[in-house]
């Protein structure tokens, strides 16, 4: 058994080194990036870096069909490029998808292919970045989301309720009625592009105050998607003036009913804007030095599997977040922090009532979540490193 485990880990380590996170160099350009799209010529001269997006498996949702469709998800490889000028930064992501799925205006159960780019609001302490899945308490993230969809009417976004009435119930006729219906169509926004601020799921709130400017586009190529986002380097939400910034990407597969947490995501990636030393780059590209095989032994000793699903072969119990992809979308620093200070980031249950049998956390004053997990800050540093090294090998899919 031990031999088998060793072989599996060895394979995983090989995969790890092949897909190890490297820094992505953002190229400085002079072009205007305000309305850049996936069709812009500038991308043909830009270097793309392959990155891996891992299926989110931390929590499970309550959509039976979606759970069935997503149970055997494996990581996907995308390509990313970044450019910036004096006041804007732009990203392009290309990812494979054999089918174009869009949100339809006449279906109750169709979902759109989509992508999002996430920024950490504060990244001055690289070891304490926000939780990768939409941030965490006191560690907010800014998210730009673009879905492939038909025109979506927005009833509250424009504050317009007058046009929400049936044409038959207006007192208008003929030309006046036609004009009314035209007005109704004009309220519709052309596409589904949104910006959010979030401190963990459930708290995600759309930015509508007009102080953050971004522009995103999405296009299907026949074998995959091309998506771009450009945003200000500095606005009231973000200040990206640094040697390197942490950015992460997520994509959704509408065909698998993907939305919200049912997604593929990268870990925090280091986007380098300037030359120079960067603690952030070091943290985000760190390859743990511990012994993963010894890490397995420690995990067994401390009974991690009592609550966590660790590999895809373990029983799903969701008594605690599932860890089968954790090494993919987490940095070594995050794993270390979670072991020594489990309450630093507590992923909320997938809904308010979930896990009432086995609580993931308790709520203290000020609604602070305190993890049920014991803290392992007393561990021998080498043992801790071994466990981190093992956890970094857990990269989703069916082992």
């Amino acid at each position: 058994m031990k031999k088998f485990a060793t072989a599996v880990v060895a394979l995983a380590i090989m995969a790890t080194s092949a897909l190890a996170e490297v820094e992505i160099i953002a190229e400085k350009v002079n072009e205007n990036l305000d309305v850049i799209s996936h069709k812009s010529r500038i991308w043909t001269n830009t270097k793309f870096t392959p990155v891996t997006l891992y299926p989110q498996t931390t929590i499970r949702f309550n959509d039976a069909k979606a759970n069935e469709l997503n149970q055997n998800n494996t990581p996907i490889i995308a390509a990313i490029a970044a450019i910036y000028n004096k006041d804007k930064i732009a990203f392009m992501i290309k990812w494979p998808d054999v089918h174009q799925d869009y949100q339809k205006s006449d279906s109750t159960d169709a979902y759109a292919d989509a992508f999002a780019v996430q920024f950490a609001r504060n990244f001055s302490i690289p070891k304490e970045l926000p939780y990768i899945g939409m941030g965490s308490v006191d560690r907010p993230v800014i998210i730009h989301l673009q879905k492939d969809s038909v025109r979506i009417y927005e009833p509250n976004g424009n504050g317009d309720i007058e046009h929400q009435i049936n044409p038959n119930q207006t007192n208008l006729f003929n030309k006046d009625l036609e004009a009314f219906e035209k007005q109704v169509i004009n309220i519709g926004v052309a596409d589904y592009e949104r910006s959010f601020i979030s401190e963990g799921f459930r708290s995600m709130t759309q930015i509508k105050d007009g102080t953050s400017h971004s522009h995103s586009t999405i296009g299907y190529s026949g074998i995959g998607w091309l998506g771009t986002v450009s945003r200000s380097l500095k606005d009231s939400y973000l200040d990206l003036d640094a040697v390197a910034i942490p950015v992460s990407f997520a994509v959704w597969n509408g065909g698998k009913l993907g939305r919200n947490g049912l997604k593929y995501l990268t870990p925090w990636l280091a986007i380098r804007l300037k030359k120079g030393e960067s603690e952030l780059v070091k943290s985000l590209t760190e390859v743990p030095t511990g012994d993963p095989v010894a890490g397995i032994k420690s995990m067994t000793t401390y009974g991690c599997k009592g609550c966590h699903q660790v590999t895809a072969n373990d029983r799903e119990n969701f008594m605690a977040p599932a860890l089968k992809s954790i090494g993919g979308y987490s940095t070594a620093d995050y794993l270390r922090e979670s072991l020594v200070n489990p309450s630093a980031v507590v992923v909320p249950g997938y809904n308010r009532n979930a896990h009432s049998k086995y609580k993931w956390y308790t709520l203290r004053e000020n609604n602070k979540r305190v993890s049920t997990m014991p803290d392992y800050s007393w561990l021998d540093p080498q043992e801790l490193e071994n466990m981190v090294a093992y956890l970094k090998t857990l990269k989703g899919g069916n082992e």
């Binding site: 949702f61 509250n156 601020i197």
Partner: protein
């Protein structure tokens, strides 16, 4: 949990399946802008497929431990039915009468079919359904965006359309499938218990228009109210499928009487009843026995003595007596919150921790409202 809970009682003995409630709701709320297929209020024939099709088998609700059970999101064509209309205008110029969409399924598709063999022992009754405004709503639990909230002042469960991002976990989570996805705006919508009416002291449209006078509306803690008396005092009104664990706040007086069966020769089988008690147990649990016993005893008492408070309530001599909506209470709530009308949005996230300002809401009638403000 809300401070108070507004509830509805429906007396199934009096429902004639006329769909006036359905139409009242539809014309008030759901005949437009992507809601066309929705029935916030529907009346289905039971036993039957219901609306959406086989909703009782689509999951949602909570397990014994209190965890949300996975559910299925119904399909428009197969489970709800695509709404259709006819070419009324074209008929005038000689065209044949045609639907614009080939009807393949819709609400009430199996009206009056029921179960059993006609004419010997067939049976059915009508089951009007609205959102149950549950104390422990499956939809609210399932929402990963906290876009669904239960109003503190009356327990009405609402979707904050500003927060809703159209994930539809709520639809999977609601065991009654009484929350719907509006594909035109990509958000979930549901029965709002006509809160703009209620705040003015008017009953919900479905209850106001009910020709059978089957619907009582009032606060569960109002001991003088008929809802309290039917639910708490006499315990003759029971929640639907309480085994789902959501603690529904729409209560039903179960059907107590059913016609006798006929034998093969068409002769009456004395003392028989067509409605199997198992059907009622399935919908209302074991409590249904006590409820029927009380109803029968009170009916007997009324026949013998001419007195029965319960029968007087159920007869509903005055329609207006069926609604105890404390308008002054709402006025006080609005005053306390400094809002008039009350904001139909969840104020937990308006002008959030990091967002700079709230948003302006323009109302068709009445004043505009600034919620959240600057900070």
């Amino acid at each position: 949990m809300s401070k108070r809970q507004l509830a509805m009682v429906m007396d199934l003995n009096k429902c004639i399946g006329c769909q006036t409630c359905t139409v009242a709701c539809k014309t008030q709320w759901t005949n437009r802008n992507g809601r066309e297929y929705m029935y916030w209020n529907n009346v289905e024939t039971y036993p039957g497929t219901g609306y959406p099709k086989n909703w009782m088998e689509l999951g949602g609700g909570f397990d014994k431990g209190g965890d949300l059970k996975p559910g299925i999101i119904p399909n428009l064509e197969a489970d709800y039915g695509v709404p259709w209309d006819y070419n009324y205008d074209a008929i005038a110029s000689g065209a044949s009468f045609e639907p614009n969409v080939e009807p393949t399924w819709g609400p009430n598709w199996d009206e009056d079919e029921g179960a059993g063999l006609f004419p010997q022992d067939n049976y059915f009754f009508y089951l009007p359904r609205i959102c149950n405004h549950c104390t422990n709503p499956g939809c609210l639990s399932a929402c990963p965006r906290d876009a669904i909230f239960k109003r503190e002042q009356d327990g009405v469960v609402l979707v904050d359309l500003d927060r809703c991002q159209g994930y539809r976990y709520c639809i999977a989570g609601c065991p009654y499938k009484k929350i719907y996805f509006n594909p035109k705006i990509s958000k979930s919508e549901k029965c709002i218990l006509c809160f703009p009416r209620i705040e003015q002291g008017l009953p919900p449209a479905c209850a106001q228009q009910c020709v059978g006078r089957i619907r009582f509306v009032g606060f569960l803690d109002d001991e003088e109210g008929q809802v309290y008396k039917l639910v708490k005092k006499y315990k003759v009104a029971i929640g639907l499928r309480t085994d789902y664990g959501t603690v529904p706040n729409v209560y039903y007086v179960p059907p107590t009487e059913s016609p006798v069966k006929f034998d093969a020769n068409g002769k009456i089988i004395e003392g028989s009843g067509r409605l199997p008690i198992e059907e009622l147990e399935k919908l209302f649990g074991q409590e249904v026995h006590g409820a029927i016993e009380t109803l029968k005893a009170e009916m007997k008492k009324r026949k013998e003595t001419g007195e029965s408070e319960l029968m007087d309530i159920l007869i509903a001599y005055q329609h207006s007596d069926m609604f105890r909506l404390d308008n002054n209470y709402y006025k006080q709530v609005a005053k306390d919150k400094g809002q008039h009308p009350l904001a139909p949005v969840d104020n937990r996230y308006i002008a959030g921790k990091y967002t700079k300002s709230g948003h302006q809401m323009n109302f068709f009638h009445g004043g505009d409202l600034n919620v959240g403000g600057k900070h």
